[in-house]
Symmetry: C2
Amino acid sequence: MIAEVLKDRGADFLIMYGSSSNANFYYATKFKTYDALTYIAGIDGSDILIVPEMEKRRAERESRVKEIVSLGDLGYAERVKEFGDPRKAYLEVVVNVLKEGRCRKLLIPEETPTFISFEMMKHFEVEVIRNPFTRLRKVKSSSEIEKIRDVSRAILNVFRQVVENFNFETCDDLRRTVEIKLFSTGYLAENTICSSGKRSADPHDTGGGRIEDHVVIDVFPRSMEHLYYSDFTRTIFVRENKELEDMYSAVVIAQEEAIRMIRDGVDAKDVHERVKDVLNSYGYKTGGGEGFIHTTGHGIGLEVHEEPRIGDVSVTLKKGMVVTVEPGLYYRNIGGVRVEDTIVVKRGECEILTPFEKFLKL
Amino acid sequence: MIAEVLKDRGADFLIMYGSSSNANFYYATKFKTYDALTYIAGIDGSDILIVPEMEKRRAERESRVKEIVSLGDLGYAERVKEFGDPRKAYLEVVVNVLKEGRCRKLLIPEETPTFISFEMMKHFEVEVIRNPFTRLRKVKSSSEIEKIRDVSRAILNVFRQVVENFNFETCDDLRRTVEIKLFSTGYLAENTICSSGKRSADPHDTGGGRIEDHVVIDVFPRSMEHLYYSDFTRTIFVRENKELEDMYSAVVIAQEEAIRMIRDGVDAKDVHERVKDVLNSYGYKTGGGEGFIHTTGHGIGLEVHEEPRIGDVSVTLKKGMVVTVEPGLYYRNIGGVRVEDTIVVKRGECEILTPFEKFLKL
């Protein structure tokens, strides 16, 4: 796929510099690394990962890159001695790999650190492009879907335990319990939203304080094993609150309507419009930072938020995309509610990876 | 401090683009953000953080930046409509902030994404520099030391529990228990090394399988609250193994010698040399990827590994630096041992933030 991108742009190589905290880098290399490394893909379908000596065997074992070369193989230590500057030595070694591959034109993803780009410009014709892996990552393989399904199952397991033994006084208690339970089974959830009362009117507030009539739980863990995310939200009612319950009913209806619409070939913008229409039809207006103030959803995979977005911009949804569907309503004097599932786009009806009851009155 | 850097280089502003996963960005802004934002510091000591509308109030509350402006304040939405390209709109808005500040020359840290640097070059004289915050972060304030002390205490609490109830069969059991206990108290440890047998001869291997005669536990959590790290290693013996115990004795002696040496004004290289000499004097040779095959230590703070390094390069240690001291010995046919503490450099004797018994025979 990258070979095609190179061909289209008349380039010989693509370079990426990053660690596995960069989703595109991990997607391309399948190599977990805390330190930033260089990955090079060629127009002939070859690719190379440059690693420290110490990581060579692990990279050969774990990474999906065809050729692993170590800094040792490339004479890095000698260059460090020669220049007295590890950075300069590193760049020289990388430039030499490209020169040996007879590189003339090089593609550089736009997020590449400036010190890499500026050096490459001295030696090659350079074109700065949006990272092609961002686009490739939009449609998931079946093994990627399996990983998101795995995280989804972990969420539901924990959520079921929490709902069945709901004895939390505060939002922080609830958050801590959810996060610790997930962590104990190998999933890292950070910034889990547990928000109640009027604070829940701000969808970005992670919440705090006593649980009042309701609590919005929005949890998006990643597997510490395979690094994929899933994303799930339910609004739980612990006391009667007609205003919030009515809002939540409208949100659930809008969400189910959106989920029914979503399939291969549908425009994400139309889905978002439909959600807005449904909420409007129930009398819930949007404006002045209140109402339905965010998009309907987003792609999810190696990042919590990735392409495609289900919002105001036209994007054709395709079979194999994994997206969230998460309408909400927020009013400062009342509070906020939201429901969210992670789903797989199919030719026909989509598959819900996080099936769980929507109305939870405890 | 940044004003001085700007003055020295005849520049008007420094720009940083990043999220709080970037230690320099978090250090400059004290603002936790998953999304990347722009920070601008001026020669007059002013600074600005550009945030999405939704984050403005939180940024005003939490960040240490003097002026918070939102994309809304800057007419971003109108530019998106005009250009139909959020990226282009964003860059225009940032360029305008700099132009309003009458920027002529701009400093750009070398890790800045290329799309930012290339746009800035069109409008301003640009100088790409090593990030000045990396240098500023080397010497810690007393409040930073307090945070590293806090993580150190958390490690010791968990480690004490683990040692007192040591009933682990496998390295993975031990790792899981340590990480879950830390997580439950608000500290995230990933890739904790629990390594036994011959696998422990590779200091980068996180370990696995049955615990044989000994286990090296190297844990480096960060607080999920304030984001600082600490780092700690002990080698525990569960069965007699004279070879490994002798190696560990030498390592402990070398470490204590190094700790005694470390104070304001000492060259880190001399400390590393001393450690090498001590290990040599006990007959432990280094070569062919065996022996003492890594550096003596590294700075620690908002990153696990940061400046200064205690290795082959001359660096003067200064009061307020926080570093690890972690000699080890590794032989393929025997295994590896290591001991590590996190310490604060002082004018006199340094302070050990992770005081704990070195010889642990269970």
